[in-house]
């Protein structure tokens, strides 16, 4: 049995763990990162949009060599029914300027690049090894066990993702509520860059991101997404587990149907599916963040800590992961100076988080999950809006009605009262 002891052990090579390890190594700490996959990113999957300014904070000028796909310059919101769709598009030239507001990434490539950067900074990378459990002395975490080997450290950073069995073991997290989790199923479709640029009206330094509500998930709470990479498209559905089990539908069926939808089919035509994957994602926002994010000798970062924000139009996780990794590393560096890794000393993490955009944004959007509880959002509004615009554009020789009358009819037909509309509008304004 080995008795290696490090200053820090990071469990999990996603953006949160890698950011923490990178920061620590860069500041001279002796840090080892343990990843159960063959390489960092091999177990990771996300929709693919990274709000990337925080990455510039970690690695200034990251875009010079980072493995990123396209900056997102076009945001589309789609309300979709079975046969029709309504799009709202926002495009800005400023979104194409470095350091970029957001970029698409493919995690098998991006995480691997970030891992290479961490290794260059001095992180010792251990891949293909799974941490089986935490080593404890009393209620203090002193290291990890991989089954046949034990590794000790002054501090352990848990970055083992949304299922975080280690956070559960440490007693930080219980079983997560079903309404705080969603399953995402995603297909990656290869198409030449020029074809993507033509179909999505982009130049080579632009990219598009769709947020799709309604039929994409068969009305199950959640949504669809559709992102452009350099020479591929990421398309998927995200379905909240509580609503999914009520509706008893298959995520893969929803994705198959989405690929054949009149909006999507021409955009993916002649594309070749090259990968199919799935992952859980947090939907609870601030509400699912454990009350305590550190303890004697440990901290918890990224998805493992429930750091995701879904405001309906914007879905964030990777930026919060990187932000929390930086906040955790800075707390550890402070603890190192004092030679004190106690609960009280590591509470600097909480302070760092509160002062960073991570907690500020989580708190700002704390009411978003409540707002998105509304069934109307997923099941009725898409059909109401499509009916309304269908009526406006269709001239079938029956006399037209005033717009207000048409609007009221489309609401009534879809079971939405004026009161519902006001309530949801007000809730939305307050939540977002």
């Amino acid at each position: 049995m080995s008795t290696d002891k490090y200053q820090a052990i990071v469990v999990g090579g996603g953006p949160a763990g890698l950011a923490a390890a990178y920061r620590l190594a860069e500041q001279g700490a002796e840090v080892v990162l343990i990843e159960r996959g063959d390489y960092c990113g091999s177990k990771n999957l996300s929709g693919g949009v990274l709000y990337s300014r925080v990455l510039d904070q970690l690695i200034p000028g990251y875009w010079e060599d980072a493995v990123i796909e396209r900056p997102i310059t076009n945001y589309l919101t789609t309300l979709m029914t079975k046969d029709d769709y309504f799009n709202l598009e926002y495009k800005s030239k400023s979104l194409a300027a470095t350091p970029y507001n957001a970029v698409t990434v493919l995690r098998g490539k991006f995480d691997r690049w970030l891992a290479d950067k961490a290794e260059e900074a001095g992180v010792m990378m251990v891949t293909g090894i799974k941490v089986e459990k935490l080593l404890k002395e009393g209620n203090r975490i002193v290291g990890v066990s991989t089954g046949d080997e034990e590794m000790l450290a002054d501090v352990v950073i848990l970055a083992d993702g949304i299922n975080s069995f280690l956070a559960k073991e440490a007693g930080l997290r219980g079983n997560i509520h079903l309404d705080h989790l969603a399953v995402g199923a995603k297909a990656l479709i290869e198409l030449p860059a020029e074809v993507i640029e033509e179909r999505f009206h982009l130049n080579s330094q632009e990219g598009a991101a769709y947020a799709i509500l309604g039929q994409a998930t068969y009305g199950v709470a959640g949504g669809g997404f559709f992102y452009t990479n350099r020479d591929s498209l990421s398309i998927g559905v995200v379905m909240r587990l509580d609503d999914l089990v009520k509706a008893k539908v298959k995520p893969a069926d929803a994705l198959d149907d989405l690929l054949e939808h009149p909006m999507v089919a021409p955009l993916v035509k002649d594309g070749k599916m090259v990968e199919y994957g799935a992952h859980l994602t947090g939907e609870g926002g601030f509400k699912m963040v454990p009350a305590k994010l550190y303890g004697e000798g440990y901290l918890i970062v990224g998805d493992a800590a429930g750091f995701t924000i879904n405001s309906g139009l914007v879905i964030r996780g990777m930026d919060l992961a990187i932000g929390s990794g930086i906040a955790a590393a800075d707390a550890v560096l402070e603890a190192q100076k004092k030679g004190d890794y106690s609960d009280a000393s590591l509470s600097a993490y909480s302070r760092n988080l509160e002062n960073s955009f991570v907690m500020k944004d989580l708190k700002l959007y704390a009411k978003a999950p409540d707002f998105m509880e509304s069934d109307r959002l997923y099941k009725k509004y898409a059909s109401m809006v499509n009916q309304l615009f269908g009526d406006i554009y269709t001239h079938d020789l029956t006399p037209k009605e005033r717009l207000m009358k048409t609007a009221v009819k489309s609401m009534k037909d879809n079971g939405i009262s004026m009161l519902d509309l006001i309530k949801d509008g007000w809730k939305g304004v307050k939540a977002l």
Partner: protein
């Protein structure tokens, strides 16, 4: 686009299968008392099926998302990640 079967979709992926070492074990007794059987539809890889009153899982094609574990109402699954280096290997992600 041509509609792929689930088997075709999973065949696009790279899996390092740890033969004879399932990372998902099912407690059939608990399953027999289950009315919902959420695993049968919620698994995004459709790995669960019911044969002769028993729930089976084709664990080799597991995408390691954890959905089945989360939606199982009977606590019937012993679910852990595959051993280091085994399981799904996303090339793109």
């Amino acid at each position: 686009m041509i509609r792929l079967t689930m088997a075709d979709k999973l065949a696009l992926n790279k899996f390092e299968v740890n033969e004879g070492e399932p990372h998902i074990l099912i407690n059939q007794e608990k399953c027999r008392t289950c009315g919902e059987k959420n695993c049968l539809f919620a698994c995004p890889a459709q790995l669960y099926s019911e044969q002769n009153g028993e729930i089976t899982v084709e664990w080799a094609g597991c995408l390691e998302c954890g959905t089945c574990l989360a939606v199982c109402t009977k606590d019937a699954l012993s679910w852990k990640y595959p051993q280091g280096g085994f399981g799904i290997i996303y090339r793109q992600g």
